[in-house]
């Protein structure tokens, strides 16, 4: 059951990777990278359950935090050309 979810997450990862490569604008690529981050957060958790060691959830929490901060930081850098003070 966990293996089936992992296979579905892998197929979805490959489909989003197509959009990440062919995306016309920068915003398509940022959106696809954010979605890949969410997919990887889920995949780390499900992989922990699949191997019988759910302690990997801690890594998954940190990955979710870094994914959000990274996406907003890249968008701010693309908007203003700097991060914070000039």
């Amino acid at each position: 059951m966990f293996l089936a979810v992992l296979i579905a997450l892998g197929i979805s990862f490959l489909l989003i990777l197509v959009r990440l490569i062919i995306g016309k604008t920068t915003f398509d690529r940022i959106l696809a990278a954010n979605s890949i981050g969410t997919i990887i957060v889920l995949a780390i958790s499900v992989h922990g359950f699949y191997m019988g060691r759910p302690e990997f959830i801690d890594i998954s929490i940190v990955y979710a935090l870094i994914n959000f901060i990274g996406t907003v930081a890249v968008l701010k850098l693309f908007d203003k050309g700097t991060l914070g003070d000039k």
């Binding site: 915003f27 696809a32 979605s35 969410t38 889920l42 759910p54 908007d79």
Partner: protein, 107 residues
Amino acid sequence: MLDVSIEIISIISFILGAFFILTGSIGLIRLPDVFSRIHAAGMIDTAGASFIILGMILQSGFSLITAKLVFIGIFIFFTSPITGHVTANLARKKGVIPVGKTKGKTL
């Protein structure tokens, strides 16, 4: 009896989550412009992630793992709309024209 029903609900939740994630990633390829692709990405982040995390919560019983999974679910559920809003706002500001609007017509 209770264990069997919890297992069945968990499997149904995993199937729904995998369905929503696959649908969202297909939509991320096939939809025409940025503003409609945000809809597909939001569906991956809210519906798919919530159902898969609900399935893992039902599998793990009542322990510390459940609390951590609830934290991940709440965090993804609240940050995904923020990311979509910031992306759409900046795309509009940088001059991306939505499909169906002619150039020069203001929204």
